[in-house]
Subunit: 121 residues, 10 copies
């Protein structure tokens, strides 16, 4: 039977913005995000929400899905994961404005979310 | 039995704004929007929401319904469809202000929405 | 048995604002609004929501109810009905600020709302 | 402008049951029912819900809509309206089993619903 | 058996603000407010919501509860009750800022809310 | 101004069942029920829900409303109030079957409901 | 660009029941069902829900998706579509028990659902 | 300042059933239940729901509240707590029938509830 | 950093039923279940819900959590996973009655759940 | 069996902000907060919500959980608890901006929340 293995080199792919002359907003929700707590080795679960105004490029959704899968077995804290996703998407898309929010499931009766924003200078 | 065929020339019809002296807002929701993914040939589903301040003209709702039906068997991406609907409505109505939002169903566990706005210079 | 007949001359009644020295806001929701589509002769349904800051006068609710009943068998479009209600209430109350919103039920899979605002010069 | 007049002779139309060999259930909800209180002359609002197992005939939905419209300006109590609709549908369809429920809006802070059932002997 | 009698002299009691150096906000919701309609003698029901920034004093909640009970058998309109509660609380607490909202139950199919605000000069 | 006084002799009024040949069910919800706790003298709040199959008589809703108002300033426990309402309605209507449920608001962090049923022998 | 064309010969595929010795239940919801009204030529929308106890075979979900797509441009009534899907699935799977429900979107203010059941003799 | 100490001898108090001739049902919800996990020493949270048909006695709610408080700092598993509450209430009330349900908050991403029932022989 | 590795030999642990003389029910919800689709190698997500009446043994929740984690990177179909979990829990606990339900996230616009039950002979 | 005792010296622990160059926001919800009313000695329940922009330090969640547990048996008013938590977190983290909100359960039919904010000068 087929099991899951971390892909070694997934790439965020892009396509040209169909209306670069207009500032418009794209919202993407990935409710099936999961990573691993680096302190306990146990899985974390959450939703990653991305809101951005594209400049020359939009993110291709299938490649975004494979990018998210790379976190499945990786040990990383909430704050680092959210900022990492923002950094990687900014590097790939160079958007006019982008906000990434991670809403994570309760652990020990405590729920956490992290929100980070980038604006083109 | 009667089947569905794309109409060849549906037209967005209009009627005169009953209170052109006043800026007022009209919100229209079309939750039964469907088009076709140009990469896979499979149907996409979503809700198109239009918010506008009319100038001389309002959109007639029955013609808007037929306009939306033209996307049923057309291959088009989310970002292009939302911007196209905004462009077509702006061309037909020349509104003082208009926002079109497309909220599309999940594909591969990922949900997307696109929002574009036009303002009269 | 008693049937419904349009009242010939219902009047919006008022009472003095109990705190004219203070700007305060009154919100009134009429979820049982119904009128008739002038194109098809079929009933339309919706909710009329009124938000206003009174000046010298407040609207008496029972007279407002009878005022709304006059639309029951009248042929009128959504955009016209919402603006007409705003005009009639402004004429009766001369409020400092008033917004009227009509949220109308789906027709042909499309839902519409109309919002109009008046401010005292 | 076009106003509303009670149709003089609307008829419940039917079409043949497409699978008479099988007992299957049809549920129809009419959330835009309105009639008139015979004591006050004021409108009542509610939802009529019909659940039935057809025998030889199914009710055609457009004729059902026109049938419901006949109550718009008629003076009738909740209990009588619900039972009347059941009687008329049983007469037109002779179903194997049918339940009609009327869920009516609050009056004086009190909400009422009425449910009546018919079974073929 | 014990019945209800209007208390003759309930008093809004206060306690010192534990952090007067900081502007912070207190929200209090009283969903069991009831008074009497002065036109019909019938009870009205609603929720009173108080939002304020205390200065030197905070309201003690048990005394607030008894204060609200004084309206139980009193004839008063929605607009007057909401403004009266604001006036009484401002007199007792002298807050930096206070908003009182009354959300009242539907009467004759119409729902009303009233919102009044006071700011220290 | 008009205040509230307990009516001395309200009566549950009835009207003839319009379909006595058929067993059908009537559900009535009174969400604005209030009485007084006989131990503390403080008001209780709740919803009284009545479900019954009428025999010869149905309860008239306006008289039911006035009947409910008699509890407003009366000291009575939840269990006694629910059973008393069932007894009084059974005495007035002699229904084929009746259930009365009282859903009462939280007191001290604890919520209570009481359900009592009568069936004609 | 790629448009949508009805596939000429989609087939419901199956795989062996992994626990034929045990009666267990599978529920499948297809909320993106759409067909065409044979009277108006306009699209209908709805959710098809399938509940079954497999015998020797389970339905493969990807082939079920393609089967549902064949209705996209086909003219068919609600009652016929629901019964047809039940017949086709029973023919392909020969399940121990199966129920198909179609919940269809409102048309003319009226909502309809159809439920049909098959049991192995 | 006043802190919390476990009461040494709280007693479940009762009062006579006001309608012992009739089987009626009382539902009590205590959403503020908390105890301590005997393995970790950390608090657990949950809702205890009690449904019973009284025989000669009903439970007095204030004493029930104090009874529930005794679990606040006690180490006990979910399964034991739910069964213990049922045993104690049965001993105090000797009800005709009683069900106790404990719905406990998530721990480690897993939520648990326990339901136990007693019937008089 | 710490990553996730499938544990080689997790064991479902048990503890003695605290009230074996009484039939009582335990419900456990695991909303963070994830496995891998054996056809595509992509992750599946779902909630596993277990309802059982214990005999001599109850399942210890921490060991259940580790048991569920073993599916994280395993390729398995919905129908097989649900039945496998039931088989493993029945083998470990020998319960009087047990039902396992898997509610899985949408794939290709289609949502699936599987329910299997075991009863002690 | 293990019971609960107030820890004598729990400490709020911190870890370095992973992106100090960027202003980003962390939201933490603790829905299982409980303390003791200093007037009655009875428990209070509520949710503490913390929103902050970290500077050099982030709060470690496990230490935050133990910090919250110290209130379990402590007598303190709502207004003081909310401000105390803000003061302690500001002292430990020196955040760029922080808001603490306490939403407390109903007492005597009245619900209260308190919100306090700190900004770095």
């Amino acid at each position: 039977m087929l099991d899951f293995h971390v892909m070694s080199s997934s790439t965020l792919e892009t396509f040209p913005n169909p209306r670069p002359a207009r500032d418009f907003e794209i919202t993407i929700s990935c409710p099936e995000f999961t990573s691993v707590c680096p302190m306990t080795g146990l899985p974390d679960f959450g939703e990653i929400r991305i809101v951005y105004v594209p400049d020359a490029l939009c993110v291709e959704l299938k490649s975004l899905k494979y990018y998210m899968l790379e976190f499945r077995n990786k040990g990383i804290f909430y704050e680092a994961a959210t900022n990492q996703i923002l950094d990687d998407l900014v590097a790939a898309l160079s958007p006019r404005r982008m906000t990434v929010t991670g809403n994570f499931s309760a652990r020990g009766g405590i729920t956490t979310s992290v929100t980070a924003t980038h604006s083109k200078a």
